[in-house]
Symmetry: C2
Subunit: 339 residues, 2 copies
DNA sequence: TTGTAAGCGTTATCAA
DNA sequence: TTGATAACGCTTACAA
């Protein structure tokens, strides 16, 4: 005599009940749904019909608990308001969805400590794998993944230290756009950087190296602000830059937002772009093509980075041999009117 | 004699093991963590110390299964690349996170059928509640929620049919910006609409009603395209509009993207904004303030909508009495240089 | 090909 | 205040 009925969750229909209705055992129903080839066709059809009729909805918690696999991937991004990472997430989602995996999104707000905290919090979900933005997590981060044996793929940048990564060289990209400005004849090229996360700093390194090589580097032309990027900041920084260094003839902004603000400010100040000052951005977001003049920038394969990273992670989880642990998806300088 | 050790998931440390190490039962450990006031202080401290020392990570699947509560909220949005919904998600996340709830994001791609499909798919997670964008889901949608008793809050728009909703009147907002253009003296005001989702159509209704009232309505001034919105579309539509209707003196674009493309195209065509043609957008995204001239638009409280909707849903889940099932968060016409 | 039994880690129930 | 026991719904291991 059963004694303790408990609160049921969800639709209330269980594998066991489907089995009763179809005249088979629960495990056969499970097999009919998850490995159909292991159940005779007649039985399978009968079961699937019953599943449909009763509106059975599998319980993912029970499944995770029994199988020790959550089919869940944690994705950590520095920001949700920055389109760059949204594009990446969209790429991730497209791949995971098809594979039956669930994406959990953690917003680190560009903070290493929040990133660690989020990782710990999301561990409750027993993620089967993790997608991380950038390479510079605190040491505990890697230690936790190591200890729990959770596979990870690092997005947006490249490394040779053995970690799986999908991205492009931030430093080379910074160098390339700087070289483009040099090639166009600009000589007093400033750098405008916000947030100063690892990617911005690498672009800065590329900028420095290129100008050094051309013997045109001048530290005074670097505008660096650790606060979050905005068009407002781009506008203010441009004004200050030109006031303090009137001979500045070009600005490499670390992202399109700053660049859009800078161009707008040029309009307000009555300065011709690119004749008085050239402006270049980074990322090639949609608005970059619609400023006046259109913005020269660096196109980055954000969507593909997300998709490829997800694919790589799933391969890793499936235990496949990873032929290319380091996927360089490249970038492209897009020359438009602003330079 | 135990016979079947199975694969363990996660960190491997369980409540039971913490209990063993601390000399108490598993259930006491559970209580120490979840309702500390029900465990004596001495024991509690000892337990918490052990939890820390062994690095215990709760297993959310087991918890959901046993408690019949997933602490998970499904959030359905039409798009992830549209900043409007990202802002909403950020508001949702801020509230859910603090409350210990997990957010599952479903991207419907503006499709009713995908929306239904996503709902079905995410039912596996036994969500405790759902946040939905818009009011016009297919009938089965409501039927499923009803049948399973899943509470829902509808975002971005308002209704009086009893559903919980948080938003503002899309129609009134469309009317308000149209009235603004009228007040500035424009008489041949066009409407430019993309995507044609329910919100755009309601803004269109507001536009029509206002122009009808002023006896200035002209159906030929409506540009409607069901394909996704883009700056490109705004540029092309503006050119066509002015070619076919040279007397058009203002355009209400259903969103800022179209408006930004339209303004850019005016620059390319050498048309003065707003003297030759005024442009107004909708949403007040960041770039709206940085076009030349700056864009007149309608500011919408997206972040607050997300946060309030989440709060309302949590109250509903907690079984609290809902005093205001309909929360009108309003909007504001932001008059800038483009009109 | 199908079924039985046990176990996944947690919480609800009831008892002490 | 603490604990024993069963139950949540599913899948693994093993047997038929």
């Amino acid at each position: 005599m059963p004694r303790k009925p408990r609160l049921r969750s969800g639709s209330g229909v269980t594998l066991h009940e489907i089995g009763l209705a179809a005249g088979v055992s629960a495990i056969t129903v499970s097999r009919a749904l998850n490995s159909p080839e292991r159940v005779s066709e007649a039985l399978r059809n009968k079961i699937l019909e019953t599943v449909d009729r009763l509106g059975y909805v599998p319980n993912r918690s029970a499944r995770s608990l029994a199988s020790a696999r959550s089919r869940t991937i944690l994705v950590l991004v520095p920001s949700l308001t920055n389109t760059v990472f949204i594009d990446t997430l969209v790429g991730v989602e497209e791949v995971l969805r098809v594979a039956g995996y669930q994406m959990l999104i953690g917003n680190t707000h560009y903070s290493a400590s929040e990133e660690l905290q989020l990782l710990r919090a999301y561990l409750e979900h027993q993620p089967d794998g993790i997608l991380v933005t950038g390479l510079s997590q605190p040491p505990e981060f890697g230690a936790i993944l190591e200890k729990l044996g959770i596979p990870a793929v690092y997005m947006m940048d490249l490394t040779d230290d053995g970690r799986l990564c999908v991205g492009f060289s931030q430093e080379e990209a910074g160098a390339a756009i700087t070289a483009h400005l040099l090639a166009r004849g600009y000589r007093r090229i400033a750098f405008m950087g916000a947030q100063l996360d690892e990617r911005v700093l690498k672009r800065l390194e590329g900028y420095r190296a290129t100008l050094h090589a051309a013997q045109l580097y001048d530290a005074k032309l670097e505008f660096l602000d650790p606060s979050p990027s905005s068009m407002q900041m781009g506008a203010e920084a441009l004004e200050r830059l030109l006031r303090e260094h009137p001979d500045c003839d070009a600005v490499f902004c670390c992202n399109d937002d700053l660049a859009i603000g800078a161009i707008a400010q040029c309009h307000r100040l009555g300065l011709a772009v690119p004749d008085r000052v050239a402006i270049a951005g980074f990322n090639d977001l949609q608005p970059a093509a619609w400023t006046t003049p259109a913005l020269t920038t660096v196109a980055t394969p954000r969507n593909r980075i997300g998709a490829e990273a997800a694919r790589l992670l799933l391969e890793r989880i499936a235990g496949l041999v990873i032929s290319a642990p380091r996927q360089d998806l490249g970038f492209a300088v897009v020359a438009r009117g602003s330079s």
